[in-house]
Subunit: 171 residues, 2 copies
DNA sequence: CCAAACTTTCAGTAATTTCTGAAAGTTTAA
DNA sequence: TTAAACTTTCAGAAATTACTGAAAGTTTGG
């Protein structure tokens, strides 16, 4: 791959990764910054990101803050250099666990609270609509609880890093 | 639960389910229609949806079309009645499998194509950036392939409907 | 202290997504 | 054939979400 082609391939990858992010509820720029940092060999500063991705300082700053909040990106500083640099977690399985934990905290738990709250109301047993409401929300709650349980087991496990191999071998 | 309280609880549930949908890349109205239909005992027509959710005919129509496209909602007709009615799949595990299959087709497959395409370029072995690009996209591709495999096994399995019980019992 | 180097904030703007409603299209009963 | 009953479409409007850039804030070396 010539250097020109490489640059193009990388840019294309970052652009498309951003588009994919959108369909998963992640904003385009955040996904692109993440892709850029995953592909970077060295930690990278804000100005470089602004140049490479053609984004404003404010945009870079706030999306980096969010990525750090998700635990997908770390701040790095070097002695004698006042700039902050940013570095992405690069191990794919670790990334997955981090995302799973955060989504759990931010989205699964609120959903579960809503479902439990709904399904634990005392139904008026005369009304089939009320009965169905309770049944249905209870079933959803149980499903989400199970999913949650699995995510916990899988993503907190000490053995997390071998799991993918095991899964692939035995399925 | 008094009838008043029930109506309120149901409306609250639908509203919050819509908000939750947003964080998963599903538009609010679509999530709300889905919630409404999951909670409905009888299939429901467009006008009822428009009234209950306070949405326009166009909005109802296009979100229903999408939900049918996802396989989460079915069209129902009664002999001697020209109206179309809509009914949601209510079994939670079946719903999960449907969503898994659709997301796979719509989002996982395009992602995989991008990753494979990127990781199969021949690297210039002199350039550590190029090496890292290949390594990293290959690792992502493998991860997504594994996830895909698992979703296939789980969601197409004949035994799908027992799996949740097994999982809960053994974890 | 000060000022240079750097980061954060946020009001205003731009882009994107979603929604409305009226008009066009389709189906069916008579 | 026709008209009533119903569904679909889509241009423009509204709502939401994301971005910019300049100003304010912070930190640090001297």
């Amino acid at each position: 791959m010539k250097s020109e082609d490489f640059k193009e391939a990388k840019a294309e990858f970052i652009a498309q990764w951003g588009t994919l992010g959108s369909s998963w509820g992640i904003n385009r720029t955040m996904a692109q910054i993440h892709a850029f940092l995953m592909l970077a060999v060295e930690p990278c500063d804000t100005n470089t990101l602004m140049d490479e991705l053609k984004i404003s300082r404010g945009n870079a700053n706030s999306n980096l803050r969010d990525l750090v909040g998700w635990g997908l990106v770390r701040r790095v500083t070097y002695p004698g250099d006042r700039k902050e640099y940013f570095e992405a977690e690069k191990d794919v399985w670790t990334m997955f666990c981090t995302i799973a934990r955060e989504r759990k905290r931010r989205e699964i738990e609120p959903a579960l609270q809503l479902l439990r709250n709904s399904s634990s109301r005392s139904a008026n047993s005369k009304d089939p609509e009320q009965k169905h409401f309770i049944t249905q929300t209870a079933a959803l709650a149980e499903f989400v609880e199970t999913a949650d349980l699995i995510l916990n087991r899988v993503s907190r496990s000490e053995k997390s890093k071998v799991l993918p191999f095991l899964i692939k071998r035995f399925s």
